[in-house]
């Protein structure tokens, strides 16, 4: 298992769980990030925010935010 910020560009996986406070969770879930959904990384430059794609939507996430999203799945075992 890896956090979302560790996935490279083009990799994808399924969200295992999310950590973080109430405000963060309510914002991130409303954007579509919930357990069991497939998410792929569109851009990850190693520093600065990443772009993730899920549920037909592209979302820019700060590295700290992406680190709170845990991913399971083939491309990151």
């Amino acid at each position: 298992m890896k956090s979302l910020d560790r996935l490279l560009k083009g990799q994808q996986g399924v969200i295992a769980y999310l950590t973080g406070g109430r405000k963060f969770l309510s914002r991130i879930t409303a954007m579509g990030f919930t357990p069991d959904v497939m998410v792929s990384v569109v851009r990850n430059g190693g520093r600065g925010p990443i772009i993730a794609s899920l549920r037909d939507t592209e979302v820019a996430l700060g590295r700290g935010e992406a680190a709170k999203i845990m991913i399971k799945g083939d491309s990151c075992e």
């Binding site: 769980y17 999310l18 109430r22 405000k23 963060f24 969770l25 309510s26 914002r27 991130i28 879930t29 409303a30 954007m31 579509g32 919930t34 357990p35 069991d36 959904v37 569109v42 851009r43 430059g45 520093r47 600065g48 925010p49 772009i51 549920r55 037909d56 939507t57 592209e58 979302v59 820019a60 996430l61 700060g62 700290g64 935010e65």
Partner: protein, 680 residues
């Protein structure tokens, strides 16, 4: 359709996630009949409008665009309170057919409230373009809610929506009892405890779900409603729930997926059919993306100026004639009154008009960039740079707008969703030099520093960056303390520009500016006119000159004499005016009877060569450097100060920020003077 019950206006609440085309629908429905204000007691914009359909009056209220309806953000709270407390006759929930799964999320919350709902399934044309087919009839039967397929940008589906709204208003609530969260093991027991207590818009099922979610406001309401014993047993249940938010959100999405499984056909879909895929690859690239952003900014400002210049030129050419005409009309006994108009009011209004042109140009350009979906990409590529001064990528937009016009920069801070970040950015935008300021800086600069001018500009920009970083740090440390939430931002799909929506936004801003700045600037120019009015044109004898001399101790700290100090003061009304003020105060202008008459370009009646000669003789390079720095960082023009007030609704912030700019500009001017003395 002429149902007598419907003769009172029908109230429609327009709800939807950001970027679902909500404002397009709002503009289509209301046309020009809009009212823009703030939500009572809040700094969030409220738009409402009236229209007539089928002889019935309709009142539309545009709710803030939100992704969900929790009690965690101001916007969500406002949207939720409006539906619950104002009980609109119909809630129209916008959804984007091309991103249906996520945009239906808001509906999963609203449908639990006891209020008639209509779904506006917008951008159906874009979904088709991407190769998705959506069976809206099936969606309607699955949801049990009227679904209206629309392409609002093209005006398609508006009539159907209106018909659906009328039917829903007449038909009353038909919330389906099926719940997305009902499968939760605690659902039944929680609901039975609060049973019979909630029968308003805030229904029992809504409350139950919000309790499972752990929504602080719902918990508080229920606590105040229940008996102590009931609350105790409910609390025990609630304490057992772990990850309430994740569970409810997950349940909502799986319900959406169930509904959509037979509704959306993705057979013809491919990402290549999405708009702007190639451009997006470059636009979000860490290096290329920044270059594209800067190029787009420069081109945009150039475009804005091309739009606005002819209008400015036209007005500028008419004004001298108008002023002459007014003077002649009052040349008899009421000479002073003619001067009040010709030298005070008209120049003041002229300046306000010029500001309006800048504001207008910047709004059009940024409105366009936002509408096509580009602005969020810019925020993305600049996020790392902005985080160095403790801000989000979104703050880059108002800061860049500010290079065009500080007024636009201040209103531009509205895009920032955290209050803390917004206030910091709002103070920072006025440190950025606006376009009008450069004319004076380059005039003074080339007289004294000729070849070294690029160095001066570079040092100005370096000091600006330092100033912005320090101010941001100070504000975040001492003034607007609080946790910083990181970046979570949707990158909406690219769209063709919708001029109607853009124009709607621009018009609203222009009207607001007219209201607030015109009166203020007109009033202030009359005051300044009165303070500086001298019939013989010798302004050295005016009250304003005495005020300038009174501040001698401060001006000498910057190495400035009272004349340059007055020029700094004049910059408060309009940056451009300082130059003619200098000319007249140095005795070069012909026939100016008051400072304000100099607000009209070319009115000082001085020859540039003569001005250059005089200034070069009587001002030392160190003083000139001090003037340039103090001028560059001085308090923004009055239009901006008025806008800070209307955006913050706080006198404390307005005065505090103004004082801050004044003090820092004098200090920086003083420092520049000392440095200048060492160099020259």
């Amino acid at each position: 359709m002429n149902n007598p019950v419907l003769n009172k206006p029908i109230t429609i609440a327009l709800a939807g996630q950001p970027n679902t085309g909500k404002s397009t629908v709002f503009n289509r429905l209301t046309g020009a009949k809009q009212h823009v204000g703030n939500w009572p007691g809040k700094t969030v914009e409220q738009k409402s409008g009236l229209f007539t359909y089928n002889n019935n009056k309709h009142h539309v209220v545009d709710l803030p665009g939100t992704y969900s309806l929790t009690s965690n953000s101001l916007e969500e709270q406002i949207a939720r309170d409006f539906i619950v407390n104002e009980k609109p006759d119909v809630v129209v929930v916008m959804a984007d057919a091309s991103q249906l799964e996520r945009t239906l999320y808001l509906l999963t919350e609203i449908r639990l409230l006891s209020v008639p709902v209509v779904v506006a399934l917008n951008m159906i044309d874009i979904a088709e373009e991407q190769g998705k087919t959506i069976d809206s009839v099936k969606l309607e039967s699955q949801l049990g809610i009227r679904v209206v397929p629309m392409a609002a940008a093209k005006g398609r589906g508006i009539d159907l929506l209106l018909e659906a709204v009328e039917n829903a208003a007449a038909g009353g609530v038909c919330t389906s009892t099926e719940q997305s969260v009902a499968g939760n093991p605690y659902y039944k027991s929680i609901r039975s405890i609060i049973s019979g207590k909630f029968d308003g818009v805030c229904s029992e099922q809504w409350m139950t779900v919000k309790l499972i979610e752990g929504d602080s406001k719902a918990v508080e309401t229920v606590k105040n409603t229940l008996s102590a014993a009931d609350w105790k047993s409910l609390k025990e249940l609630l304490d057992k729930i772990e990850n309430g938010q994740l569970i409810t959100a997950g349940a909502r999405y799986s319900w959406i997926n169930d509904v959509l499984s037979s509704v959306v056909n993705r057979e013809g879909e491919s990402t290549a059919k999405r708009r702007g895929v190639k451009f997006d690859r470059a636009a979000t690239h860490p290096v290329v993306g920044k270059m594209i952003a800067l190029l787009i900014m420069v081109l945009s400002f150039a475009m804005a100026m091309i739009i606005v210049m002819p209008i400015m030129g036209l007005v500028q050419s008419v004004i001298p004639g108008l002023v002459e005409l007014v003077r002649e009309t009052f040349s008899g006994s009421s000479l002073w009154f003619g001067s009040l108009l010709a030298d005070g009011l008209i120049p003041g209004l002229f300046v306000a008009f010029m500001m309006l042109c800048y504001v207008f140009g910047v709004y059009i350009v940024f409105g366009l960039l936002e509408d096509i979906g580009y602005l969020s990409r810019m925020a993305y590529v600049f996020d790392s740079s902005m985080s160095k001064i403790g801000l989000h990528g979104k703050s880059v937009m108002p800061l860049l707008m500010s290079f065009g016009c500080n007024i636009a920069g201040v209103t531009g801070t509205r895009v920032i969703d955290s209050w803390q970040q917004r206030m910091v950015t709002l103070v920072l935008v006025s440190i950025v030099p606006c376009m009008a300021l450069w004319a004076v800086v380059s005039f003074m600069g080339t007289i004294f520093f000729a070849a070294a001018m690029p160095l001066v500009v570079l040092s100005l920009l370096l000091v600006m960056v330092l100033h912005i970083s320090l101010t941001s740090a100070v504000l975040r440390k001492f003034v607007v303390k609080g946790e910083t939430t990181g970046l979570i931002m949707e990158l909406p799909p690219y769209h063709k520009p919708n001029w109607r929506t853009i124009w709607g936004h621009v018009w609203v801003q222009v009207k607001a500016f007219l209201k607030r700045a015109f009166t203020l600037i007109a009033a202030l120019s009359i005051i300044v006119w009165a303070l500086s009015y001298q019939q013989d044109g010798n302004m050295g004898n005016s009250i304003l000159a005495s005020i300038g001399r009174f501040f001698d101790p401060i001006s000498s700290f910057l190495g400035l004499d009272w004349r340059l100090f007055i020029a700094l003061l004049a910059a408060i009304i309009a940056k451009e005016a300082s130059l003619s003020v200098i000319a007249v105060l140095y005795g070069l202008g012909a026939g100016a009877v008051s400072i304000t008459s100099l607000l009209i370009p070319g009115s000082g009646g001085f020859e540039e060569a003569a001005l250059i000669g005089t200034i070069a003789q009587s001002v030392s390079p160190a003083s000139a450097l001090a003037f340039i720095f103090a001028f560059f960082f001085s308090i923004p023009c009055l239009g901006t100060v008025a806008t800070i007030h209307s955006e913050t609704k706080s006198l404390k912030w307005t005065i505090g920020a103004s004082l801050y700019y004044t003090v820092t500009s004098l200090v920086l001017g003083g420092l520049a003077y000392r440095v200048g003395l060492l160099i020259f």
